[in-house]
Amino acid sequence: MANLAQAIRMALHYGETHLGVTDIFGQDVGAPLGGVFTCTQGLKTAWNTPLDERGIIGTALGIAYAGGKPVAEIQFCDYIYNCIDLLKLCGNAHWSSAGEYHVPMVLMTPVGAGIHGSMYHSHSFESMASHIQGWTIVMPSNAKDAYGLLLAAIADPNPVLFLAPKGLMRAKGDELIAGEPQDERTLHAMIDAPVGDRAGWQPNWPDLQDYRVPFGQAKICHSGSSLTVVSYGRQLPACVAVARELEAEQIDAEVIDLRTIYPWDAATVFASVRKTGRLLVVNEDTEITNFGEHLIRRVVDSCFYDLLAPPRMLAGLDVPGVGLAWGYEKHSVPQPDDIAAAMRQLVAIIA
């Protein structure tokens, strides 16, 4: 099965051959590297930019204005913080121009911890991003969703932010992407750039098919009735694994992969909470003014009388960064043990 980075690469290839993508660009996105996570290897419209994030986003906006279809990358979301004004401008151009202009751009950026990124390379970005208007925000937790969400992003005529979990880039999917060869060594030989000299290398793309994950549709990854666990991105597989483990303890968690951060799937979340009466939101962004708190506010607003216990959030500690040494990450980013403990606690509360 393709890993998440390969899925992104295949989606971009499909985008440039079938969906009108004109430019894929960012720092080290073009040859020879093809992206620090290999996501842009072998793509025909990929090019390298100056080391200037503001220039990257400004250029993407200009390309979109002039009829192109840009997919821009900020190498790590950690470098996007000097561009929030530009994200706002991309997101408000349609509204501010009273519908005259629209901005068909995709911005990809890797997010989260889990790769020993140290204190400044481990940021989550969904909380801040969801506070910026005019963007659709997606975040896959597996390769197939990455493919499907990225095609949906490319096809959309509005700005879409594609957040790729750093810690899952090498994680292999468990479902084939339409057109992907059965054997992953075959895929590797076809689309992964060789390690040494790449001057003569050309990818041999599989015959990929269209597949889209619609925005705003969450996915129930583990059904259950003891409690609802809402998560996404890197924490999602951890939540599913814990849910499977806790089956042995008669804890039946319903784990929901949000997939789209904005607009999120309130219908699915509310229905589940109404069934279980208990909600745990898990993410790894820091906990003050966290997107999970928005989910909780909305759930409290809409499902207050269905709640059997206070809804909880398990998120990153409010510290200036995730320290390099493992002890820091272990104690400031949710770990499977923490998820299990939170689930047990929530179920133990007597209604």
Binding site: T22, D23, T49, P50, D52, R54, G55, I57, G58, T59, A60, L61, G62, I63, A64, Y65, A66, G67, G68, P70, D85, L86, L89, A93, H94, W95, S96, S97, A98, G99, E100, Y101, H102, V103, P104, Q133, G134, T136, A155, D156, P157, N158, P214, F215, G216, Q217, Y262, P263, W264, D265, A266, A267, R298
Partner: protein, 362 residues
Amino acid sequence: MQPSLNQQNERNDTVLTPAFVATAGAPRWIPPVLDQALRLRLHDRMVKARATEEMLIRMMRTGHGYFWIGGPGEEAYGSALGLLVHKGHGPAYDYLHLHYRSSAVVLAMGSEPIDILRQMRGTVTDPYSKGRNFVNHFAIKPWNIVPVTPTIETQYLMAPGTAHMQRRHGGIGCSIVTGGDAGSAEGDFYSAMNWSTRPGGELPVLMLIAQNHYGISTSAETVQNTPNLHQRADGFRIRNARVDGNDPIASWHALVEALNYVRHERKPYVLQVNCSRLYGHSSSSGANRYDEPCCVALYEKRLISENVATETELKLVWDKWNALLSDALKVVITEPMPAQEHVLQHVWHRGAAGNGPVEPKQ
């Protein structure tokens, strides 16, 4: 709507629009000769812009708008630029990344003053922003005028993007970006120069700096080390020049030279236009008239002394635009203001294929 006078202008414009000649070889851009008729046209457009701005200031004073910011003092180079633009839609034509003092540019291109009054008052009929943005924050897609941003200097970051598409498209279309002198202190100005000079990827961008020696209350020379900011382009090996932006003839020629270079060499150019800021920064500082050279008055003196026009003829131009503007105001104040139903319009674009986003089902 007050169409007659202005529509007539539009018809005449067709004659004046610079010619785009597709020769056997490369396409060429041939700017019109600055003859007597064109000099008068330039004057007409300068008056159109000044009269519009003065009407805006009156509107602000009489409660027909909350806030005024605009371009009195920038009519000379602005009108010249507006008449030289290769106007149209898509990368074959010029893209304009303007700022809040660019009314002369869009008016010279043929915009209706009434639309600017609409934005000043914030009516639903405001075609640039539906009453959402400050006055002089344009967005005119058929003419490649991208939305004017409320943030200083960010427009410089977008110009390389449109120019990148123009470079790929070929032809003579270029991207024109304007901004103030103080704003050039933002790193974005330098980003634009850097992105426009990537080896093998040079971009057709004309960058204008309107040097009026002020940023709000701050005198430029107290915070930046040169009155000649265009020379900052030296470090990028970008061709650059300075012109007296209060002189429409000099500005015309400087713009023709710059545009010729950008259009045909497909490389960037930085042009500093020195001009006045005639009513101060904005209504926040009172919008009172400053004692600085007035480009319109200077030009009228010259037209008279060179026997291109008489005082009476020039006064007729003022009367024409003032009449049009006061009629326009009468219309604008009867037009509807935005209400609750307008708040959520245009947050998302619906794609042609109906593939717009799911509206939050919340």
